[in-house]
Symmetry: C2
Subunit: 185 residues, 2 copies
């Protein structure tokens, strides 16, 4: 049974154990053995571990895993949780199969305009859109920074994006389940 | 001369070429050959390349580089630029020496409180601080998500943090220069 590393920010949810338990149950139902943050159910909860111990646990799990499925739904801002982004880059460099899903239907450039610069004028005169602070807005139509999307695609993976924003983007598992279905093949 | 991959969000600045040129000049003055986003000065500007071409250029530069120095100053939010975070994870997995610097003096947990939940009550009753939305706040005292800081430290690198917020955090090069000095050894 291939091992799947479930990357994502669910560990920060107040009902983390419930949501992560359901994700693990679904992964098993598609033929994967789940691993990743908070998954060693018989060990100390993450809240009682040092930062170094958490890192080492995730590092080992990433190296042992066959596949990664990362939740890149925006977390406290316009982009994915940075821990999750680190893990995507790490596992791609290790040559692992990496897929991702996001419960936000808009691409990164659209979110930068709607969430970060909400209501402010975007300067389109230079050939690259820029916010009022002068910073250019990446507009390649990807779900997040192009390094994430293209890194995944170059390795044969896919980023599954929700068609519409679900009622509970932090917990919705429709795009997750769709990704598992593709990954099973 | 060791090759240094300069990761960071400077490519989005309106004066990107000036700032990145100065970073490259400083890197050379410390004995490094700089590479990374936007560094192939004789090629097409990044704005004219496809997302896949940008990725492939960065991918090759990361694999050829000996060292990475990443600017993890918060970018459009509370955390580092996600492309930079991807590159840190990628290069650590490749076994490269990775260092980082940030021009923001506060640790990640402090920034989540001051920037994301600014002025709102933090619930400290459960043993883990939580925002009013119930999401827990990572409070390991690191510059960003622990995966980034500990990944760098486990590999023998360091995260250099500015002692105070400089006047221009997007362009200030004091912490960058300090990191170069340590890296030269």
């Amino acid at each position: 049974m291939p091992t799947i590393y479930l990357a994502g920010p669910e560990v920060f949810l107040p009902d983390a154990q419930t949501v992560m338990g359901e994700k693990r149950r679904l992964a098993r139902s598609f033929g994967f053995e789940p691993t990743g943050p908070g998954s060693d159910e018989n060990q100390a909860p993450v809240g009682q571990l040092t930062a170094a111990a958490i890192y080492q646990r995730n590092d080992g799990a990433m190296r042992r895993a066959d596949v990664c499925l990362a939740n890149i739904t925006p977390f406290r801002g316009i982009s994915a949780d940075p821990g999750t982004v680190y893990e995507i880059g790490f596992m791609i460099a290790l040559g692992k199969r990496v897929w991702a899903y996001t419960n936000h239907p808009d691409d990164y450039g659209t979110r930068v305009r709607s969430i970060w610069y909400s209501g402010l004028d975007i300067d389109e005169s230079s050939g690259r859109p820029r916010g009022p602070d002068g910073l250019s807005i990446e507009n390649h139509g990807k779900a997040d920074n192009l390094m994430i999307d293209i890194g995944i695609e170059e390795g044969g993976g896919r980023v599954i994006r929700a068609a519409t924003l679900p009622a509970d983007p932090e917990r919705d598992l429709a795009a997750y389940t769709e990704a598992l279905r593709y990954l099973r093949g």
